[in-house]
Point group: C2
Chain length 711, copies 2
């Protein structure tokens, strides 16, 4: 009997050890081997002379990681040769090992990792002015180990580019997630505050590992209910879990809360009663959560209430909230994503609304601007608001969740897209002012610097629905910390940590990741096409879409303008003149069809079907080849991935393989739908060397997916 049990356990053991379901994200500490193991074994103990929950997490992470990496227990706190010494810049140990001058290199929650020789002993020092910075240092140190980049001669100083590195969760209180594709919300509101899911810790730890220090718990389409006492108690419970990980809680608020919740007659920001209501509410919040971060506000946008309901400006609204938060150090992130069903080109409206308000916002208000002027499309030019608000703090809002990029079904590595925005030169003051430099405080000093992204996280075991979507959470964190990292560096780190260091795996998979966003643009909407998605849920193509009674600016034809003469949105000076919102020379470049970058051609121009692209192809032919390239690329990814089977555990291999199959089918669907539909205008044949459509347009038009815009 015993023998049988033993046998059973023997079979179970490898399963337990090697079962991979993606839940560990990039925090996988595979046993070191060879030289790496030798190096790992030179570390002997973890020493700290301060006590705090954060430091306990840091040392706990280090010691449990070391156990997994080397099998060795280094939890003894004895200072000895090989010790890892952790502490804030105030720690006596740290002060004895590093000079004050050395510590001066640190800003904010930056960290130092340094190999220090003292006498005949070697130490590794990890320190920061902030406790959470030590955590970041520890995770950075572990990352070096995971990626074969560590040594006993480290000398690293890392300071973050942004003070606030924040995730926006579009999570509703019923646990659905708007544009969420990885299951229901992590936050189990019904169970809170009494029951705390172990995933709250895991979530905070994952964020700490990539330097994310802030989170907005709830949907920007906010309900007043989040500010009730009952919900604030739940929020406090989460904040208490997150605090030791250095993760501050923020809330999205509904501008009408005073009226809806407080029973006031209105929510006019100039109404003293409204002011008072907010002041009291903020006071209540800080009583529960002393380090509460502040508010995120979507106002007067897509039907939500706002100051304009009372004839006031966005500045009036934002400043009122800012004044309430100011005494506690809280901030307001006020979204610039506003547009109305007016005759003005939707792409122009945020700029039109906000530029007149420049200089009117408090110093704890920051305007949160989506990367592009429309809405998280596969490719947009950057929003012209960046750089245009000279006396107002600005931050970028990215979208990690793939609302317009195939949900959690398509493999799309977003770092190149994030970088494309951050590295865009706005020319606001001649050549040089990139969006990164404008928002990170380099070119314009501001009290607050921040960067945000809409999270792709849900309660799926693998967090993000698609294993490769984890890379986008990771990449956002890494870029928020240091936007000068290249997409390749980030992919390199992530692949090594998440899958394998083997270069036969690394290199092809990295190539796939790096090309994947352009591939998706190719099979979805190349050459500057945008917003030709299916209505509402935004999954799949619907260039023919026309919902009776719906707003024109939610209709694909509003954006593609296909007709017998050509394709694209004329935003030139003779069109909507959106080009004028850009600084010279960009306004002229975008205005001139010959100068306009081809990947934005149909964004700015209505282009004749026979217009010659730079490679000599007509627009129609070029469009066809782009779609075809997209399809062929996804098929190439499938081949590539299937060759990787030996390097990946079975479960993740198959789950990714399966997602790639969906992506390949979807790519053909996109190609067929768009080419067959646009062909009804172009009246030209699809170039004959291209694989032919396999669908009928009429059949594709009948596809109505039973999807909501939340999970």
């Amino acid at each position: 009997m015993k023998y049988t049990v033993y046998l059973f356990l023997l079979f179970l053991l490898p399963l337990l050890l090697f079962a991979e379901d993606g839940s560990r994200l990039w925090l996988r500490y595979k046993p070191l081997t060879g030289m790496q193991k030798e190096k790992g074994n030179t570390f002997s103990s973890i020493v700290k002379d301060e006590r705090s929950a954060t430091l306990d997490i840091a040392s706990g992470e280090l010691s449990s990681a070391w156990k997994e990496l080397t099998g060795k227990d280094i939890s003894s706190a004895t200072l000895q040769d090989g010790s890892i010494v952790i502490g804030t810049t105030k720690s006596k140990n740290i002060r004895s090992l590093l000079t004050g001058k050395e510590l001066k290199d640190l800003t904010d929650d930056g960290f130092i990792i340094r190999s220090v020789k003292k006498g005949n002993r070697n130490y590794t020092v990890i320190t920061s002015a902030e406790e959470r910075g030590i955590l970041y240092g520890v995770f950075h140190f572990l990352r070096l180990v995971q990626t074969d980049s560590f040594s006993d001669n480290l000398n690293i100083v890392e300071n973050p580019k942004y003070k606030v590195r924040i995730l926006n969760h579009w999570d509703n209180l019923d646990r659905t997630i708007e544009r969420g594709y990885a299951g229901y919300s992590l936050w189990k509101w019904d169970e809170l505050p009494n029951t705390l899911s172990p995933r709250y810790d895991a979530y905070a730890r994952a964020n700490a590992s990539i330097g994310i220090n802030a989170t907005v718990l709830n949907n920007v389409n906010a309900t007043p209910e989040i500010l009730t006492g009952a919900y604030l108690a739940k929020v406090k419970a989460l904040a208490d879990v997150f605090r030791p990980y250095g993760l501050k809680v923020y809330l999205a608020v509904n501008f009408s809360s005073p009226k809806e919740l407080g029973g006031l007659s209105d929510s006019d920001p100039l109404n003293p009663a409204v002011n008072k209501w907010w002041n009291n509410k903020v006071k209540d919040i800080y009583k529960l959560i002393p380090d509460f971060g502040g508010f995120l506000v979507k106002a007067n946008s897509e039907g939500l209430p706002g100051p304009q309901d009372y004839g006031r400006t966005h500045a009036d609204g934002a400043n009122m909230l800012a004044d309430a938060l100011k005494p506690y150090g809280g901030i307001v992130m006020w979204r610039a994503f506003v547009y109305n069903p007016s005759n003005e080109d939707r792409a122009k409206q945020a700029y039109s609304e906000f530029t007149p308000l420049d200089g009117q916002f408090r110093d704890n208000v920051i305007i949160q601007i989506k990367n592009g002027p429309v809405d998280f499309q596969p490719r947009e030019p950057f929003s012209p608001l960046f750089g245009a608000l000279r006396d107002t703090q600005e931050m970028v809002e990215f979208q990690i969740t793939q609302e317009y990029l195939g949900f959690s079904n398509h493999l799309v590595y977003l770092s190149p897209m994030f970088k494309e925005t951050l590295d865009s030169d706005t020319y606001s003051d001649g050549e040089g002012p990139t969006i990164a430099k404008i928002t990170d405080g380099t070119l314009r000093s501001g009290k607050v610097t921040a960067i945000s992204a809409v999270a792709n996280i849900g309660e799926d075991t693998n967090w993000c629905g698609h294993h490769f979507a984890q890379a986008n959470w990771y990449a956002f964190g890494r870029l928020a910390w240091n936007h000068r990292l290249t997409s390749e560096q980030i992919a390199d780190e992530w692949i090594k940590m998440t899958f394998s260091n083997n270069k036969d795996f690394m290199n092809p998979v990295k190539d796939m990741m790096l090309s994947s966003r352009e591939t998706t643009v190719d099979y979805m909407m190349p050459l500057g096409l945008h917003h030709i998605f299916a209505f509402g849920h935004h999954y799949g193509p619907e260039p023919w879409g026309d919902v009776p009674g719906a707003r024109p600016d939610w209709m694909p034809w509003y954006y593609h303008n296909a007709d017998s003469t050509g394709l694209g949105f004329d935003r030139t000076m003779s069109g909507s003149n959106a080009v004028s919102q850009y600084f010279p020379p960009l306004n002229n470049i975008y205005n001139d069809i010959a100068l306009c970058p081809e990947n934005l051609l149909l964004w700015f121009h209505h282009v004749p079907w026979d217009y010659r692209l730079k490679d000599g192809k007509t627009l129609w032919d070029g469009l066809c080849y782009k779609y075809d390239t997209g399809v062929r690329q996804v098929r190439a990814y499938q081949k590539l991935w299937d060759r990787m089977e030996e390097y990946v555990d079975g479960q993740r291999f198959r789950e990714i393989q399966s997602k790639l199959r969906v992506q390949a089918r979807d790519a053909v669907w996109w190609k067929d739908a768009c080419l067959l539909y646009f062909q009804t205008f172009s009246k030209r044949p699809v170039p004959y060397d291209i694989e032919r459509p396999v669908h009928e347009l009429e059949d594709l038009k009948k596809i109505k997916l039973e999807m909501k815009h939340h999970n």
Copy 2:
């Protein structure tokens, strides 16, 4: 107002002239041009000195064709230079233009087309011993014109290879068609005998144009009802329409008719009362239809009644019916498609049942044998019954309707498949006895020679569902007339007549047709795989199929035998020993895995996954490449067809384009389903250079099409 009407007509005219919906089949007489027109104009009149409905049809076809071809009216019957002289071999005109010796070359309903110079006049003579033969001659002459092959120096003698060239309609009396994919039955039983659809004439004319002289109106799964007086009156009405076109009517009969219809206690063939019932019934039929052809019988097969129900043999049953028909010249076509849910390999059963009866059948009985031993699969070896019945008349049953070949959705030109059977050497008497020579009377004299095929015709405007499926009706007729025609010759004729003479169209389209059957084998069931279709309707793949309680020999696993060791049905001497039913050396060739043709490998052998094929690939890899080749070929057909747009009218172009899209999707479906399923046994990767599956096996298993086995 008049002007408006005129304008309206002006616009309508081209539409009327050029609207092409496939209804005209290959009988399209496009205006001649250039040299062709000059030649056409040398013909001046149609002369005949006999009167009959058939001759009227012949001269009518000629004169209306000539009008379309040249715009010229040649209906005047004046004998003059350029006259076309038509008549039987008894006609005075004919006798005066051809010698008795010349006429002796004719057999059966064969015809002569000869250019004759008499004095300074040139005539074209078309004659036959049978009136319908003149019709065949006229259509042949027109075919020469349609295909640019005519001249004023013709010297053609054509005699048919088979006396009975017969279509089997699996049409039910409720107008559904078993395995019909082109709409409901042409026969409107409810309206008959009073209302006669113009399509009855059109159907008979089309058959006459390719020499088909016989038709079985109803399903072999026959109901007794067809022999009631009411139905016989309807049958008579059709027979009357068909008669002038030389088309004889046959009926499929239910062996239990005496019991079911006549109220007898049984239908035992040795029961004198049963004999009497049949004698009377046959007498009644011939009273209505003096040239009635005879019966087709499916007995003791798939649940139908038969002589074995009374302990009698197939010979007892067939002979009883033959005796009843004999006085009137009628024949019995008795089907060898019999198999029972026994332990004996289904492929062996027809042989086992019929060889012991050899020599016992009357001389007006002919055994109708499906081309292969199982059931119209994409590829089968020929049925071993061919040649094995030495003293029994044998005929082939082909299937034109694409039960196992993608219905009317897939473009599959069947002539190569028909030829593959007809040209198969049975080795029944050493090298040489092909199935063609055995069945056409060359090697074994018999009173009756016949060839049959299950029709693909329905009331769809284009007759066959797929425009290219018309080619299979055409090819069967042409091969039944002359099995020595090549598939290429037939395709050549058909394309020119149906679409275009332009070689830029002709050549690629012919290549597509000629390769299409092999392509379909590749993406459906290469290397000898068979019967892995979806249950019941047989559309799409279902290699995993397993219907609880259904007969094993209807289950895919019965045929593919996939397991961890390999794939295929072991029919060698150490397996079911089906190989022994073939004459030497075929029995040894099929038995020996090294000698067995690879396209039948898995039909005869259970082959290890790592078995090396002739090209050095393993079985598994070879299988994968075959499926992939099939997919790529269909995509190549799509490209090819799309390039043909300028040569084809819009309607047919688009309809065929649309069908090819379905075929391309289906090919991927087949490939994915079979490879993913068989991979669960082979445990080997799909070769990495092959396009990857885009479906999940589990999803494909869920596909349950709402299809019946009739339309």
